[in-house]
């Protein structure tokens, strides 16, 4: 599932590359920072960190302010045959294996596959090639096997929606999209990595946290949105008011920021892949466990999708203060959406232009 999600992001990224010199500059910056390996204290896979970092804002809230990065190569789900963690020589082997799988700077598979990889190492966040400091083999910590729980049968209505999505995805893969609105939300520049849960992607894994009395604000790099979280205990917005990024409320439990998000729109892609916005609940916890580390933990519960809730933990590392998070624009120069559609129309007229391999090739 991770890979499927990732490949849609990859495609979105391909779209994004062409888009702007601003983006080029910003991504280059990220790539240039590969030296910033985390020297963090080991991020514990629990929500109660014993050595919680104690810094407070002048108004008494735990201080989470700064620019953070959640890149890691540790997969969401545990690969077959692996234990909870790796140790000794296995650490490097696992890391190299994951890095090799992720690497785009390779020539195997022949020229066409190589070209279909579309872009190379330069674009990738170098931090994406390291496993978590605690050497876990999956970001999922519950269920204990590191895998998502089994799914439950879904309604006929949801099956129909999924089938439509799959058909649209197949058209996209064949280079034959019908219309802009059937493309994925990242390609349409509506949401990208700003919809919770926050999962590492191939690039632009930055999040800036701002705080003011009564608020925490999380601004994900993609796409220039601010998740403004009131801490004053106010109720959620009315139940008929839906948003792509939902509606978030938060409070501190000791040093941990606990937030819950509701009011998601029903569009495909607004909640974690395959889940049901009607029954989907996500709770996220942010605990600063060292000066340069936040433990980000999320629990998703959707009884009409999975048999039980599941939880993942991802370390966020504070990036070098000299590095900045720059504006990520998307829709403003979304040339690729035009190229995708005009390409499809050209292929309708001339089948000789048809792709010989699907363009989701990773």
């Amino acid at each position: 599932m991770t890979w499927r999600w990732l490949s849609s992001i990859v495609l979105a990224a391909v779209a994004a590359i062409v888009m702007s010199s601003a983006l080029v500059a910003q991504t280059a910056k990220t790539a240039a920072s590969k030296a910033a390996a985390p020297k963090a204290a080991v991020a514990k896979a629990t929500s109660t960190a014993e050595k919680a970092y104690a810094k407070k804002t002048p108004w008494g809230d735990p201080d989470l302010q700064g620019v953070w990065n959640d890149a890691t190569s540790t997969p969401l789900q545990r690969p077959a045959g692996k234990g909870e963690t790796v140790s000794g020589d296995e650490v490097n082997l696992f890391e190299e294996q994951l890095a090799n799988d992720l690497s785009r700077d390779r020539r195997d598979g022949g020229p066409e596959v190589d070209v279909n990889r579309a872009y190379n190492e330069h674009w990738m966040d170098a931090r994406r090639l390291k496993i978590t400091n605690d050497h876990r083999t999956s970001l999922v910590v519950d269920p204990p096997d590191g895998r998502l729980p089994p799914t439950v049968p879904i309604s006929a209505e949801r099956q129909k929606i999924r089938a439509e999505r799959q058909a649209a995805a197949a058209r996209f893969n064949a280079g034959m999209p019908n219309v802009a609105t059937e493309l994925s939300l990242p390609i349409r520049c509506i949401i990208r990595t700003d919809s919770p849960p926050y999962l590492p992607t191939i690039y632009n894994n930055d999040f800036q946290i701002y705080q003011s009395p009564g608020f925490v604000v999380i601004a994900p790099e993609m796409i220039h949105s601010a998740r403004i979280i009131p801490l004053d205990g106010r109720p959620h917005i009315g139940p008929t008011l839906k948003q792509w990024l939902g509606d978030t409320r938060g409070h501190f439990e000791g040093n941990t920021l606990v937030i819950d998000t509701t009011n998601f729109r029903s569009d495909d892609g607004t909640v974690y892949q395959g889940a049901n916005p009607e029954t989907y609940k996500i709770t996220e916890r942010f605990t600063r466990v060292a000066d340069d580390t936040i433990n980000y933990e999320f629990t998703i519960n959707d009884p009409t999708t999975w048999t039980k809730p599941w939880t993942a933990v991802i370390p966020w590392t504070k990036i070098d203060p000299k590095e900045q998070m720059y504006e990520y624009m998307c829709h403003e120069d979304n040339f690729d959406i035009v190229h995708l559609l005009t390409g499809a129309r050209a292929r309708e007229k001339n089948p000789a232009l048809n792709l010989t391999k699907p363009q989701t090739q990773r």
């Binding site: 010199s21 108004w59 809230d61 019908n178 349409r188 520049c189 601010a226 403004i228 008011l241």
Partner: protein
């Protein structure tokens, strides 16, 4: 909890003091008490508000809150009559645009003659769009119509609220409801704009009660308003945010662009604190409202 009571009580305290001053016959009238003093506040231009010192956060004025302007400058920075917007023949007065007075000091923008022609051309093409050629992508149409990030200062006078998030880090965030746009103000920062962006590169500093923000590095494609008033890649904006009361802030911006204008010019208007108990920015993602306009002619079956 301490925070919340401080937040509530401080503005209230100031409000009481100000109200006492404003409504005091001794101060306001300099004579015998009047039986029913007129609501003087409405008649006073904002510049004559009693001197105000905002509550402090980390030693500086606390500008946190949800703010909004109520000028109609997004239609036109200069004087504008009520006018028919696009397609009134289809949607009637839904497309009517209200009148408004210029927010420009002196009333009129100091265009260079050749630049004025481009403004008029922009206005004539404001509801057109053609994205079929990458090179000409931005040639036609008001960026607002295409749901592009609005740039500065336009973001401030669009008819949507925005929230200032000011803490203790060197960053102040302004989050705008329109197009879920954000910009970061880097306080006392030295680095120049590394590249041009839609919302520009904002460097801030405090001058007493005023947050001063120097904005450079803005993409040249943004406009100032629906009337086609525009700028070049030489745009340099200096903004000033000055609290006037717990509920008002004066916004001023000086705009310098030697390629387009004969001299720097200035706009100013008040910002109002949104006071609804449950006020929050909602999500205004307008991209879906542009997809048929921009990409409709490339869909399957389109001629």
């Amino acid at each position: 909890m301490r925070t919340r009571s401080w937040q509530v009580i401080t503005p209230l305290g100031f409000a009481v003091v100000i109200a006492a001053v404003w409504f005091s016959p001794a101060v306001g009238q300099q004579g015998a008490p009047q039986p029913a003093p007129a609501p003087r506040t409405a008649a006073l231009p904002p510049s004559t508000f009693p001197a105000y010192r905002a509550p402090r956060l980390n030693g500086h004025p606390d500008l946190n809150g949800v703010w909004q302007s109520f000028v109609t400058a997004n239609i036109d920075l200069e004087d504008h009559e009520a006018q028919a917007g696009p397609y009134t023949e289809l949607i009637g007065a839904y497309s009517g645009w209200p009148p408004g007075q210029s927010i420009v000091e002196g009333g009129v923008l100091p265009y260079k003659p050749e630049a004025l022609a481009k403004k008029k051309q922009n206005a004539a093409n404001r509801i057109k769009a053609d994205v079929s050629n990458d090179k000409n992508w931005h040639n036609l149409g008001d960026p607002e119509m295409k749901c592009y990030m609005p740039g500065v200062p336009r973001a401030t006078y669009m008819p949507y609220p925005f929230q200032i998030v000011q803490g203790t880090s060197p960053y102040i965030l302004i989050a705008y409801e329109y197009a879920t746009t954000t910009r970061t103000i880097r306080m006392d920062w030295k680095q120049e704009a590394p590249t041009d962006t839609w919302m520009g590169w904002s460097i801030g500093h405090w001058e007493g009660e005023t947050l001063v923000v120097d904005v450079t590095g803005q993409r040249e494609e943004t406009w100032f308003d629906r009337a086609g008033n525009y700028h070049s890649d030489q745009l340099h904006v200096v903004e000033r945010y000055t609290p006037l009361s717990p509920y008002h802030m004066m916004y001023e911006a000086t705009i310098d662009d030697p390629k387009v204008y004969t001299r720097p010019w200035k706009i100013s208007f008040p910002l109002y604190r949104r006071m609804e108990k449950n006020v929050q920015l909602l999500e205004y993602k307008c991209v879906p409202f542009t997809e048929e306009l921009l990409y409709g002619k490339f869909k399957k079956g389109a001629s």
